[in-house]
């Protein structure tokens, strides 16, 4: 049971991370949680302001950092076991949607983004993480982030007849790929390809289009009708929500979500809009198993979808405005 695994993690982090133990003691005096809504949660922002880890320094194998739009960035400490669990969870989710194969991968980004693998950004981490499902890669953008149509066409010709895995950040696929193909009045033969995109619209929030319009534009320029969004964050790498054929983002087997009232933090029913809290049962090296995000949205029961996947569905509206975040960042010492 997910609740049992999460309770175990709460206890584990309480005994190995004093800062977390003090926080839980002051904010969540109640003992074992009987349901998801009772699991103590940390505002995701806590990783920007505090060093939170539950392993000794010499067990830290890698430190992941989020790209901090506000100048601050999260620090996530991984030990070997947690890193391995991330890989396994991601592989399981990916296989559930796209099978166990590995594919020629078209990355809608530039190679320079991933070159320095010690300099971890969320984009680097995502591209490298998903690259395990590739057997070869082509970067669709030049280092100046312009579309490299010639390289793409060569790559597609070499891999003709194969199912191509197209991966990238939503805003980059939109601005540097789809819009650019349209502008140049070009199309690409990607009828057999599947698209996986995530990360939202970032600084292009003003240009944001609906998911339907996004899918339609991809179909128009590439012929592909297999377009899957994913929702995830560097603080819970490996445990992601993937959009099914019916357009719903489902939690992984290791994950779940619920919405909370932004002011009172009261857990909300399915269908009611609030701040999203996300759960993941694989975080051993840092207390990131239950996080209150800064994303606004709703949840639905997975079984209501009909695609056969049981994982909780999330619907994301976007990021909470900066000023309002105060409410939840005040909630920890």
């Amino acid at each position: 049971m997910l609740v049992d695994d999460l309770n175990d993690l709460t206890n584990h982090h309480k005994s190995h991370c004093k800062l977390y133990a003090d926080y839980v003691a002051s904010m969540f005096p109640k003992g074992q949680a009987e349901q998801l809504a009772d699991i103590p949660f940390l505002p995701v922002r806590a990783f920007k302001e505090f060093t939170l880890k539950s392993v000794p320094d010499d067990a830290v194998y890698k430190t992941m950092r989020s790209s901090g739009t506000s100048g601050q960035f999260s620090q996530i400490f991984l030990d070997k076991q947690t890193a391995l669990s991330q890989t396994r969870a991601l592989a399981e989710s990916f296989a559930d949607y796209f099978g166990k194969g590995r594919f020629p991968m078209l990355v809608i980004d530039s190679e320079s983004t991933v070159k320095d693998r010690l300099k971890f950004s969320a984009r680097t981490a995502a591209i490298n993480g998903f690259s395990m499902f590739s057997n070869k890669r082509c970067f669709a953008l030049k280092d100046d982030m312009t579309l490299d149509l010639e390289s793409i066409r060569t790559f597609l010709a070499v891999n003709s007849g194969k199912r191509i895995f197209v991966f990238g950040f939503t805003f980059l696929i939109w601005s540097t790929f789809i819009q650019e193909l349209k502008r140049r009045k070009q199309t690409l033969p990607l009828e057999n390809a599947f698209f996986l995109h995530g990360g939202g619209w970032k600084k292009l929030e003003a240009e944001k289009v609906s998911n339907d319009a996004f899918r339609e534009a991809i179909h128009e320029t590439t012929g592909s009708s297999s377009v899957h969004n994913y929702y995830g964050m560097v603080e819970q790498t490996g445990t992601i929500f993937i959009e099914c054929e019916k357009g719903h983002l489902h939690a992984a087997r290791q994950g779940a979500a619920l919405a909370r009232d932004p002011r009172t933090h009261k857990a909300l029913d399915h269908g009611v809009t609030g701040l999203l809290q996300v759960f993941s049962s694989i975080q051993g090296s840092y207390p990131g198993h239950s996080l209150l995000t800064e994303d606004i949205g709703r949840t639905y029961a997975g079984s209501s979808c009909g695609c056969g996947r049981g994982g909780t569905i999330v619907e994301i509206d976007g990021r909470l405005a900066q000023a309002e975040v105060r409410g939840c960042s005040d909630a920890y010492p």
Binding site: K62, A83, G101, R102, R117, N128, G129, M132, F133, N135
Partner: protein, 79 residues
């Protein structure tokens, strides 16, 4: 080149290490170069030199220099 030599060469080339580093202590994440990115580079190199295509499960199982040989036996690589 024997299978063993090709196998050793894949590790040496990918991780820029020495033949003397190829011991039972060499495993995933035991050296900085063998991280998740290095792992995929190693898998690509092994696929190339043995002309095989590894299954996802086997890529995840491939945990060390020593046990990797067992994985490759599934693909009819004889050591």
């Amino acid at each position: 080149m024997s299978a063993q030599e090709k196998y050793d060469e894949a590790f040496i080339e990918t991780f820029e290490i020495e033949k003397s580093d190829l011991t039972e202590k060499l495993e995933y994440q035991s050296i900085p170069a063998w991280d998740s990115v290095g792992h995929m580079a190693l898998m690509a190199e092994i696929e190339e030199v043995f002309d095989i295509m590894l299954e996802m499960d086997d890529i995840l199982e491939f945990g060390s220099y020593t046990t990797g040989r067992e994985t490759l036996k599934k693909y009819d690589v004889e050591f």
